[in-house]
Subunit: 521 residues, 2 copies
């Protein structure tokens, strides 16, 4: 998922007892459970999406490989109409063709790092003393003018590391889940004060952004050889941040490495102490701009009920990842679970009343572009709330994008009427740890695109695992981080939710339509 | 410290109340405490030993840089007779001059790894498909004959990773310390059965060693290009194992990389699934055999008491490290603390009765060679128990080599008579968490060389910190892992112990002399 900034409870009353409960067909659920838990292909799917494919950065060759594999795999399972569907213009693809960097003075040490996404390479091997750049304002840059051509520079940033006194991997405690379940609708969203500390912080951030933009421009003008940037993390794990622009008309930027904290701080301490540090590097990256369109993978199990087959249950997750690893938990995990859920339904030869559609989004990491583009094309415009007739045909959209952690419940996104339905559907999986319905919403991923045009869109509660500590956008988001039992559990539960949604007499209840923001004069 | 295999309680009765307590001079201890806690130079010493010097593998240029720096630094503080003293023949030095490796098929991915110590480089860039070698016996190798020249191969080994459900960093709980304190002397050392499961395991290990030796010889004969070996660890941290031989007449070996678990398992999964993996690498290493002597750093604060100045209190720790990082916790930490303890004593202008001597050992990692060589030269032969007159002049030897963790107490190594003395000396530092005296012994480091010839040799109880989880022989044993407050505390306590030992009327009580093993016929 992309970086998440706010989680708020929506302003609706919530009362489970006000609704009749749905009762799943136990025999079908049992079949799903048997197929999902005893005949799982989840790890094989995940292996193909990670180890075999590689990183799946938006519009990269890696993403294209994964998309082509998924279309074929979904077709091979018997899904219909499996295809790539363009959602709009993204920009350039990019990949790393070579990464090498090491200190050569005061002694040799190979550096753990990665080129920042969408940055150029060094155009062959380079070697130079490292220059430490201290700049709090644009005027601080003047003293470096004319001194940086071909040089390797380090921005003076980053904070000393602390030791790991908490475990990397965690599951939700019963008490935490109980708090989520007890959350009340209507808790007011926190207001940001216009002035005061937060206002000051915003102003400071804006100023920093300005300084960084000025530094970036100046460094390109000075023809700097390579920038070393601090990457959050520790102990060999580092997290990538947003890269340079992927736009077709992006301004040129300098070659830039995100350097693991240990290696960054090592060089920084030496430079701050006045020691000479020399670094050699050889970085090659490629850009791909022949087809700037972004694509989603779409496939279906067609509905069979005369009245209901034009209605649709959708499931999905984003397929794109960051570039420093194979995006196993962000979001090969969610994509795997959704593909496996479709496989389970085909394996038990389920003939749904409503059509079931899977969507594997792209460019989620840059702003939910794949899902938003799809929604705009098919269902309506969240800015004007002008909706298409198809908007009414989607019963629900289910999303998974919080790592490898098993499902512990569902975020209702303020849709209180869905609560008792989902509570009932979770019952056969209570023994697998999935028990909790919360009125809370959660953000940062593709269900929001649906929610924004009034289609019930849900993301599941998942155990945190080591998502925030080790894997989310990190160089260690690898196949090794996937917990097989958790993926099996999630695929089984989602297959069951899809089954129930497709057969249910009525669609999933909807919230009131969001009010479009007032048009700008 | 080197890998530790056994911790046993020695067979002596232990009763604190049987001994009179020593009472430290509170005003001097207070001066030591003030200098150690409020004017510490520990982090600066550690910075010089790690960031500035680099890895300190035995007889490497890095170790020589550190030794020369230490001799100068100790002299600058006013210590006398600071010098390098040869302890005997070690063998070749070695260092990494270039490390680069990456997969190029099925896609590009830079590999986190390190050349195994004392292995040769690749003699320029190489690139090949990776061949997975499965060999449980020597005869399994036949099928690979004639197929490996110039190839990159992977030994089929390693185990899937598990997630971090325990914290990396820990301190001893009060209950654990209480158990240590309550340990009774005379608990029999565990006997290894001649047959049974342990006998089988030994036989199995011997067989594996034999297979490995045969594989190694065969791979050299076949002129293999590079071996990829599984390195224990995870999430970017990997632990190095013993390297190839450092002996002057060592048999030739193949170039070999210890590969981080994620990168190793990634390639292995692909190969096991029948996928093609191509790797490129460029590794350069250098050997140093002009001076095969090993050296220790020695320096003194001379004694001033007419009767006692020929007696000596020794402190030390090993100065050498492994090569994949800067050996911050193994054992720049212990070396730092011991140097800082000497600095504190000079800073308060302490004039000891007995001479105080610091020794910074080398080649501890290969078998406590530096300390054993020193002890053999000066104090006696543990094989024959033929002792020198100087053996009687060493009141005690204090060692530190269990990472960055602060001191929680002292291992008595079965020397029960020292218990009440040390208990009393710890009293002024109880508030800093140092409280525990245990009759237990601890192994794996240089105090054992002294203990072996009947000189009281002690290692302190230290908080585990992240020594076993992250730093011990790992590529992440960096300056970042050092906890400043812990190093300050340890240096302060050790300076105080040294002060007390130097001034005490009598020497530290001795255990009975070890009985030499029977001479072989």
């Amino acid at each position: 998922m992309i970086k998440r900034f706010t989680i708020t409870a929506l302003a609706f009353g919530f009362c489970l007892s006000a609704f009749a409960q749905d009762t799943p067909d136990a025999s079908v659920v049992q079949k799903i459970r048997k197929e999902g838990l005893e005949n799982s292909k989840a790890m094989n799917i995940a292996f193909n999406l990670t180890d075999v494919t590689g990183p799946r950065l938006s519009n990269s060759p890696g993403l294209k490989r994964a998309q082509e594999w998924a279309v074929k795999q979904l077709s091979d399972w018997g899904l219909k109409n499996a295809h790539l569907e363009a959602w709009g213009t993204f920009g350039k693809g990019w990949q790393i063709d070579k990464y090498y960097a090491a200190t050569t003075l005061p002694y040799y040490h190979a550096i753990i790092a990665s080129p920042k996404a969408w940055t150029p390479g060094t155009n062959g091997p380079i070697k130079s003393d490292v220059i430490l750049i201290k700049a709090d304002s644009v005027s601080d840059l003047a003293k470096y003018k004319g001194k940086l051509a071909g040089k390797i520079i380090m921005l003076d940033q980053g904070t000393p590391l602390t030791s790991g006194i908490k475990p990397d991997f965690s599951r939700y405690a019963d008490t935490t889940l109980a708090q989520m379940a007890a959350a009340k609708a209507g808790a007011p969203a926190r207001q940001r004060p216009a002035g005061g500390p937060m206002g000051d912080r915003m102003a400071q951030m804006m100023k920093m952004r300005e300084v960084r933009a000025a530094i970036s421009t100046m460094l390109v003008e000075e023809k700097v050889g390579l920038i070393l940037t601090y990457a959050r993390g520790g102990q060999g794990t580092f997290f990538t941040s947003n890269g340079a622009s992927y736009a077709l008309d992006a301004k040129p930027v300098s070659p830039e490495l995100e350097v693991s904290a240990e290696d960054f701080l090592h060089i920084q301490r030496l430079l701050r102490a006045g020691k000479n540090v020399e670094v050699e590097a050889d970085i090659k990256t490629s850009f791909y701009d022949q087809d700037p369109q972004g694509y989603n993978v779409i496939a279906e199990i067609p509905g069979t009920d005369k009245k209901l087959k034009d209605e649709v249950v959708m499931i999905g997750g984003h397929f794109d990842s960051w570039h420093a690893a194979t995006g196993a938990t962000d979001n090969a995990a969610g994509s795997t679970v959704m593909m496996e859920a479709m496989r389970i339904l085909k394996a038990i030869d389920f003939k749904p009343k409503r059509t079931i559609r899977i969507a594997l989004w792209s460019s989620e990491e840059q702003g939910l572009f794949g899902s938003r583009g799809y929604v705009a094309k098919h269902f309506g415009d969240p800015k004007t709330m002008v909706l298409t007739p198809d908007q009414k045909k989607i019963s629900a959209y289910y999303n998974l994008d919080n790592g490898t952690g098993k499902i512990r419940g569902v975020y209702l996104q303020g849709n209180e009427a869905a609560g008792p339905i989902f509570q009932s559907w979770l019952t056969p999986f209570n023994d697998l740890g999935a028990t909790t319905i919360t009125i809370n919403n959660t953000g940062g991923t593709d269900h929001q695109a649906f929610d924004a045009v009034g289609i019930p869109g849900f993301q599941f509660i998942q155990d945190p695992a080591d998502y925030n500590t080790r894997t989310h956008h990190s160089n260690m988001d690898t196949y090794d981080r996937l917990v097989e039992d958790d993926l099996k559990q999630a695929a089984t539960i989602i297959a069951s939710f899809v089954y129930n949604t497709s057969q249910r007499e009525a669609q999933i209840p909807r919230k009131e339509l969001p009010t479009p923001p007032p048009a700008k004069p």
